[in-house]
């Protein structure tokens, strides 16, 4: 099962390596990871989606993260209300013929065609897991050539 965890960490060199190393050393899998500076430039915010077979492993991950000296706080969103979003960029097959169909898709989603050439359009979209999934299902009908995602960002409410 996937769990979303956020971390406030010291914004220093090597911190990401410590966190990534902790996961690899203990055989935990990172599904996605997003990092950036916060309002306080000394502190970074990480959203990590982890795969954990059971609650025990999730607990261990949180405790081990908490033990790292550069980690300030660990928040587990599994049972905590929060808002999460992911940004997707994709190259979708494009033609003058399906232009309006493609534009129609984006009436239901937060996203748009950013630019297009004669045969390919770059689209962007933002949404939660479910929204992104159903958008991608629809885009698949057009044909997705390339897809990149930021990984999840999560913020408590």
């Amino acid at each position: 099962m996937k769990h979303t965890i956020s971390l406030l960490v010291e914004n220093k060199f090597g911190v990401l390596a410590r966190i990534a190393g902790l996961f690899s050393a203990r055989g935990y899998n990172i599904a996605s990871l997003a990092v950036s500076e916060t309002l306080d430039p000394d502190i970074s915010y990480m959203t990590i989606v982890v795969e954990a077979k059971d609650v025990k492993i999730l607990e261990q991950i949180k405790k081990q993260l908490n033990k790292l000296i550069d980690v300030i706080t660990v928040t587990d969103f599994t049972k905590k209300e929060h808002v999460d979003r992911e940004l997707v960029l994709a190259k979708v097959k494009y033609s003058a013929k399906n232009k309006s169909k493609l534009e129609n898709v984006f009436k239901k989603y937060v996203g748009k065609i950013v630019q297009h050439k004669t045969d390919v359009a770059i689209i962007e979209a933002v949404g939660d897991n479910g929204q992104i999934k159903s958008l991608l299902d629809e885009l698949n009908k057009f044909g997705i050539q390339e897809l990149i995602r930021t990984g999840k960002l999560a913020i408590s409410n």
Partner: protein
């Protein structure tokens, strides 16, 4: 002040009396400043020896041990010693030189990414990039190494930083927003624990190295006597409780006593203090202590419910928690019947070995106990020698059994003994060794004699890598694969290092040799030619429940 002077002044203010280490190109400024310093320096013959010596010093004194090496190979040679200290939660500060800051990442001569290499085996590590941070980093390093669950901290200092000038501003307080170990147990949890203890019929105390780290041995004794519960310990917990005490069950686990293992398996309440339910202790996890509720006192929250599910976790310093717990225990359980049962196991399954007139390793250790009147500090190597040293010497005080527990590092014992002897010069220090292990850091004999660090080495020489041979005998149909090991003439070897060498082949020679070693004002190495195929029993095969013994003498 120059960076190197700032370093040494800071070490002095941290109370550092001795550094174990080895010079090299990227620590030249530090060694130049050492020339004028009154901090004692012990030059080992290998950086690994320096790390283990610092570790042994820390285990014997309770103070953080300090080791120092140059960049690249100097630093990588420390790695095993750092990992060893990490696994056993030993406070240590390792200082390494690094190539000049502007060369880092350049594959410069003797460059290695030491903070990268040691990240998973240190509690924390630092690369000093700005001379202004140096004092704060040293202060934090000692604080982190010595508090909470202790561990090694490494400081990597580029050589250009060592010669830069800066003001020396010693910070009185250390404030770290990200590091605040929990020291006091939750009162509600302690109350619940007291209730559970009062209701228990078959309680057992399971003590680990955390008792020794926290200095909680007195409180532990009071607890055991107050609730009249038998007490067992881990390898790291040896010395936390007097093994001569009537409630003492000895060590548990793979080579624990049969009665300790039976007792924990049949118990209805385990009070774990500063122990982490390691796989060598629990054996097969799903079969471990099926009837027991568990109270787990530990300073490290990540140790709790890691391997076994705990009913009442209490996070904090063992001593603080035991003091509070003792106040809360108003009703004590009636353990009369339980103690009778335990006594029955003690009588039925005593620790034993076959005394057939041959020179047995267990006999050597029994004799060592008698010859030293139980007053020696024992270090060990790893393997059969370590298990026999754990089983057959009777430890009665903390910090008297110094052994590589978690990592199981062969070659630990001799350099560790150096650290112990430097920290406790008035004590008799014996390294109980095997003929395999001793050859892994034998060069440190020179460190002993050159510095008049008079440690004694008792080699239980059986011509084998004994523990591996034992496993091959028991689980691989005696297909002895690369376990026969030859050795030099240890007597001549000792003499060539300027030490005294004694060879013992007969039972009756054991005691006189030990007496001679104790009374000789020099490093002494005794080569005990013991029974080659003696096994360590009892033994629980890996992956079995810990009451499933094999090998006859359970």
């Amino acid at each position: 002040m120059k960076g190197s002077q700032i370093l040494l002044e800071s070490l002095k203010r941290e109370g550092v009396e001795v550094i174990f280490g080895y010079p090299g190109g990227q620590v030249l400024p530090i060694f130049d400043s050492l020339y004028d310093s009154d901090i004692k320096f012990i030059l080992t013959r290998h950086e690994q020896g320096a790390a283990h010596a610092a570790d042994g010093y820390a285990r014997a004194t309770g103070k953080a041990g300090v080791c120092l090496a140059t960049s690249g190979p100097g630093a990588t040679n420390l790695v095993t010693g750092i990992a060893n200290a990490y696994m056993d939660s030993i406070p240590m500060v390792a200082i390494t030189g690094q190539v000049k800051s502007f060369l880092i990442g350049n594959d410069a001569f003797q460059e290695a990414d030491v903070t990268g290499i040691t990240r998973p085996i240190t509690k924390h590590n630092y690369l000093v990039k700005d001379i202004k941070d140096l004092v704060r980093i040293i202060r934090e390093a000692f604080y982190i190494a010595s508090t909470g669950r202790p561990g090694p901290v490494l400081i990597d200092i580029p050589s250009d930083i060592q010669v830069m000038d800066a003001e020396f501003n010693w910070p009185q307080d250390i404030k770290m927003r990200t590091y605040n170990p929990t020291l006091f147990g939750h009162p509600g949890q302690i109350k619940k624990a007291a209730k559970l203890i009062a209701a228990a019929k078959k309680p057992i105390i399971y003590a680990g190295g955390g008792v020794i780290t926290s200095g909680a041995h007195k409180e532990l004794k009071i607890l055991a006597e107050k609730i009249n519960a038998p007490l067992t310990w881990t390898l790291m917990g040896i010395g936390a409780f007097a093994s001569t005490h009537e409630l003492a069950l000895g060590m548990l686990g793979m080579h624990g006593t049969a009665y300790a293992n039976h007792a924990i398996m049949e118990s209805d309440l385990i009070i774990a203090v500063g122990a982490r339910f390691d796989d060598r202790v629990t054996g097969r996890l799903d079969a471990f202590a099926p009837y027991a509720k568990i109270i787990h006192i530990d300073v490290d929250p990540s140790s709790i419910s890691k391997n076994v599910n705990v009913h009442i976790p209490i996070v904090g310093d063992a001593k603080n928690i035991l003091i509070e717990l003792l106040k809360e225990i108003k009703n004590t359980p009636d353990t009369g019947d339980w103690l009778k049962t335990v006594e029955g196991w003690k009588k039925k399954y005593p620790l034993s070995y076959k005394d057939d007139g041959k020179l047995k390793p267990q006999f050597v250790i029994e004799q060592l106990y008698e010859a030293t009147e139980g007053e020696a500090i024992i270090t060990t190597e790893v393997g059969q020698n370590q298990m026999w040293a754990a089983q057959w010497y009777k430890y009665t005080a903390p910090r008297t059994f110094i052994s590589s527990g978690g990592l199981g590092t062969m070659g630990f014992g001799l350099p560790a003994a150096i650290g112990v002897k430097v920290g406790c010069p008035e004590r008799v220090v014996f390294d109980i060794a095997g003929d395999g292990s001793i050859q892994m850091n034998i060069q440190e004999l020179m460190t002993c004699t050159a510095n008049k660090i008079n440690v004694k080495v008792a080699i239980l020489n059986n011509g084998y890598l004994g523990m591996v041979r034992q496993w091959q005998e028991l689980f691989y149909k005696r297909r002895y694969s690369q376990v026969g090991i030859t050795s030099p003439d240890f007597v001549k070897l000792a003499e060539s290092y300027g030490a005294v060498g004694i060879c013992v082949t007969k039972k009756e020679e054991v005691r006189p040799a030990l007496e001679k070693a104790i009374n000789t004002d020099n490093t002494v190495l005794i080569d005990f030619r013991v029974e080659p195929e003696e096994n360590v029993f009892p033994m629980v095969p890996a992956g079995q429940a810990i009451n499933q013994f094999i090998g006859g003498l359970a």
